[in-house]
């Protein structure tokens, strides 16, 4: 394959700005799929992705395009995840490209995620083609969108293409621009093999499937290769491309993008960002930028039915086969029994894992409030990383606690700036900058303790800006903070799964709010239930749930016993979804209520 006729590109877009629809049009217009073969939005292959409109795993599709100059080009569309949780995966996908389309919704304008990913693309030296999409919508303001691309992103929008992926307008121009405005890959076909892994996933029949971009040299079936991060060697079974159906090829040469099967058993052995080289003739150095992705958000996952613990373990192991960034280890809670402490890249990643466990594996789960990774220096000078409130040492043995800090970029219409600043102050934020990027677009940058953001920050940001503000963040470091552990006691017994690590100054308020929330959430039982919030041995709030006095069906509807039975069964089902702590039945929402209870009450 002559590399002069290859173009590798990504599409940078905010959720709902039309990336998947555009990809569908590409597939149609290049004849990769006949229209009747199209299932709407083929690129997002998992149900979950389709439902949420988020692309979780990157994919690569090879399109063959005959351009107006009469030549045939191979266009590799490399799909990227859109969410901040996966920013490392995004950088690897971008590293596999020479260019990118920056897709902006003509009525919504530039969003924070788009901005963050566009910066990443610029940093990676990509050539960018701005595209203003959805110009067919009544609220479309293409000039405003172009102005935002210039003023906010800082790109020349003179060559921006106006398009409606839905109606097919502008798609031909985009394809021509890809051919003529994006550079062809540079690389040495004679050099030792160097190929970047930008995605990998586990397939039950084939083992790990690697998506790779060949930088130098070529990779072919039968070749003995080495994955440079761990130095492990494998023999390549097969290489090929997705068009979008998998097609086996004899080799992938310089600049080409495709899949590799090499009998690899888990994705953690073929991690994103790793470099493939030939074992017999290795490259001098790996492609730069590899790092092991590290979970930043932690939560406990417990089966509602204790007996389902082995099933949960199996399900987690299966997920882990496919997701190297996801971490878990067994954990025991006095309240919830046997479960797992799990680490995630971010909150969305956590939600996705939870949903997959529930949907694909049919698990009924109790999830504890998510927390972050704290660094505790003990009085004996040793340092420990704490991923769970229950692992926090006694106050007497703690010298200092450090918490992770993020830099958060929020892009918002001007009218919500006041409310956002207030929220950030409340969350112990330190303002870095406020920039008026355009008449009505403000970029607010704050340094924020990550644990405050994990709590309920994003929901509140969305609420107070009526959905208009968008957020992007990355972890920038650690800072000392006066943190304490807040415990909740139910009928005198501490419920470990309800403990949280909070800032000392807000502990009282949060304790009171949490106790009162528990009183609302814990249903009346056959006896009175006492709820207390405590810091160490100090009780800072107490509430009680009075004993249940009435739960009886008065009337029998003309001998309708089946109705009675249904009611009892329904009540029983409701009970089943609760966790029994001592004699008290606690509903699952209670374990997540910690999140919803802010300090603003």
């Amino acid at each position: 394959m002559d590399q002069r006729f290859i173009r590798n590109f990504a599409v940078i877009a905010h959720i709902d700005h039309g990336k998947s629809t555009l990809a569908d049009r590409f597939l149609e217009m290049t004849g990769a799929l006949q229209p009747r073969e199209m299932e709407a939005q083929v690129l997002d292959s998992m149900d979950l992705e389709r439902e949420r409109g988020i692309t979780i795993k990157a994919h690569a599709v090879r399109l063959t395009y005959r351009a107006d100059d009469g030549r045939e080009y191979v266009l590799n569309l490399i799909d990227t995840p859109g969410h901040v949780d996966f920013s490392y995966e995004v950088t690897r996908s971008l590293a596999a490209c020479e260019g990118a389309l920056l897709l902006v919704d003509a009525s919504q304008g530039v969003e924070a995620q788009t901005l963050a990913n566009a910066y990443l693309a610029v940093d990676n030296g990509l050539e960018i083609i701005p595209v203003v999409n959805k110009i067919d919508l009544p609220g479309a303001q293409p000039d405003e969108a172009k102005r935002q691309i210039e003023e906010i992103v800082g790109l020349d929008a003179a060559g921006a293409i106006l398009a409606s992926a839905k109606e097919g307008t502008g798609v031909h121009e985009i394809l021509e621009a890809i051919v003529h405005r994006l550079p062809a890959p540079v690389g040495d076909p004679a050099a030792p093999l160097k190929a970047l892994i930008f995605d990998s996933w586990y397939d039950a029949y084939r083992g790990v499937i690697i998506l790779t971009r060949v930088i130098d040299g070529a990779i072919r079936a039968g070749m003995k290769v080495r994955l440079m991060a761990k130095g492990q060697e494998y023999e390549v079974d097969q290489v090929g491309v997705f068009s979008p159906k998998p097609v086996v090829a004899t080799e992938l040469g310089v600049g080409e993008v495709g899949f590799v099967f090499a009998g690899i058993k888990t994705v953690s052995d073929a991690q994103i960002g790793d470099t493939i080289t030939e074992a017999a003739r290795p490259a001098a150095e790996a492609f730069p930028g590899f790092k092991v992705s590290k979970p930043m958000v932690f939560a406990g996952l417990y089966p509602v039915e204790g007996s389902e613990y082995p099933e949960l373990r199996d399900a987690l192991e299966k997920l882990r086969l496919n997701d190297a960034s996801f971490f878990f280890e067994p954990e025991t809670s006095a309240a919830l029994g046997f479960g797992f402490r799990c680490g995630f890249l971010g909150l969305l990643h956590m939600e996705i894992v939870q949903e997959r466990l529930e949907r694909e594996f049919g698990m009924d789960l109790v999830t504890t409030a998510p927390g972050v990774l704290y660094r505790v220096t003990k009085t004996d000078g040793t340092v420990e990383e704490i991923d769970s409130p229950s692992k926090l040492p006694d106050t007497g043995r703690i010298a200092t606690i450090e918490e992770p800090v993020i830099t958060a970029m929020m892009l918002t219409p001007a009218e919500h700036v006041g409310a956002i600043l207030k929220l950030c102050q409340e969350k112990r934020g330190v303002q870095k900058s406020i920039e008026y990027l355009a008449a009505d677009r403000v970029l607010v940058t704050y340094e924020l303790p990550f644990n405050e953001v994990v709590m309920d920050f994003y929901d509140r940001l969305k609420t107070l800006s009526r959905g208009y503000a968008s957020l992007d963040y990355h972890v920038t470091g650690y800072q000392d903070a006066p943190l304490v552990k807040l415990d909740i006691l139910v009928n005198e017994e501490p419920v470990d799964a309800l403990s949280v690590i909070v800032h000392r100054d807000t502990a009282y308020q949060r304790g009171r709010a949490l106790a009162s929330k528990m009183r609302e959430l814990i249903p009346r039982q056959m006896f009175e239930v006492a709820i207390q919030a405590a810091i160490g041995s100090r009780i800072i709030a107490r509430e009680s749930v009075k004993a249940l006095r009435k739960n009886v069906l008065a009337k029998c509807y003309g001998g309708d016993i089946s109705r009675k039975r249904k009611l009892l069964e329904k009540q029983k089902e409701g009970k089943k979804r609760m966790k029994r702590v001592g004699r008290v039945e606690i509903p699952q929402e209670a374990f997540l209520a910690v999140l919803k209870v802010g300090t603003e009450t």
């Binding site: 009075k546 006095r549 009435k550 739960n551 008065a554 009337k555 003309g558 001998g559």
Partner: protein
Amino acid sequence: MLGLYIHIPFCASICNYCNFNRGLFEAGLKDRYVAALEREIRAAATGEAVDSLFFGGGTPSLLEPGEIGRIVAACRDSFAVSSHPEITLETNPETSSSKRMEGFAAAGVNRVSFGVQSFRDSELLRLGRIHSADRARQAVAESRGAGFDNISLDLMMWLPGQSRDDWRESVEGLIDVAPEHASLYLLEIYPNAPLKEDMARAGWSLAPEDDAAEMYSWSLDRLDRAGYEQYEISNVARPQRESRHNLKYWTDGEWLGFGSGAHSTRGPARWKNIAGTEEYIARVSCGAPLAVERRDRTPIERLEEALFTGLRLASGIDAGRVGARYGVDVWDRYGPELQPFVDEGFLLREGARLRLSRPGMLVANEIMRVFV
């Protein structure tokens, strides 16, 4: 012995809290419905022994005495109705008169159950009832005049805006008219009840559940003192005046239901007739099957239902006998889950007998849940 339930799905006006199978009265439809009922009963004839007939609704007293008479006759022709059957007619005070009550008595009815609900006119108005407390008293007097010596009144407690004193007034009102039997129901507001909207509009609210518990306990104590005996969670009666028909529901009995939406239980099977009145008439006239939602119970399901319905009775259940009937040791099977309720005094274990205490009756669902 078998009981027969006959459903009459017509009302003169629709009450805002009611979720039963009913619709507005219409003379033409009623005539066709009564004819269909007779036909359904005659088609089900088995000649088996029957000792109770129960006309429920809706408002069965909207039927003419002659129509009730025809339905009773259809039952007598089709089943071996015992020599002293209990034949109950649910009656609304506004449809009653001396003449009609005499007519019903002549048709064979020997027990009337009045949907009085309250002896306070303001509460009746809130419930969308069209009678007054005085009309209710007169209706009882007219029934006595017509020779009825087995009268039951229904009262509802925990009504929107009802105070404990208001409730006492209704209970005293009931004691004054001295029925043989009374049913005391805690209001249940089903999800789409128009009463909900009425409440929101008028700003009426329900008293706390603790008040409901106290209303319930107080009224049962009061009725004890007035010479009534509680025999079921919501029912009290003078000695020997328990409702024979309703007892079948709580004692693992059998009954056949006739009419639209009527429920039947026979051996392992429970089923329900099609609920739509027109659909019911159409199916009867062409001989199409009426049963929908048929459920054939396993022996364990029968045991469970015998246990949770039996616990509604003040005398409870003979766990030994019920268990033996289905080949299960009840205490072995459920004891560990029941013991905490015994410890708290909600469930009383007296030899093989299990019964609920009065506080236990108020939280009966919590205990009955053990059995499903």
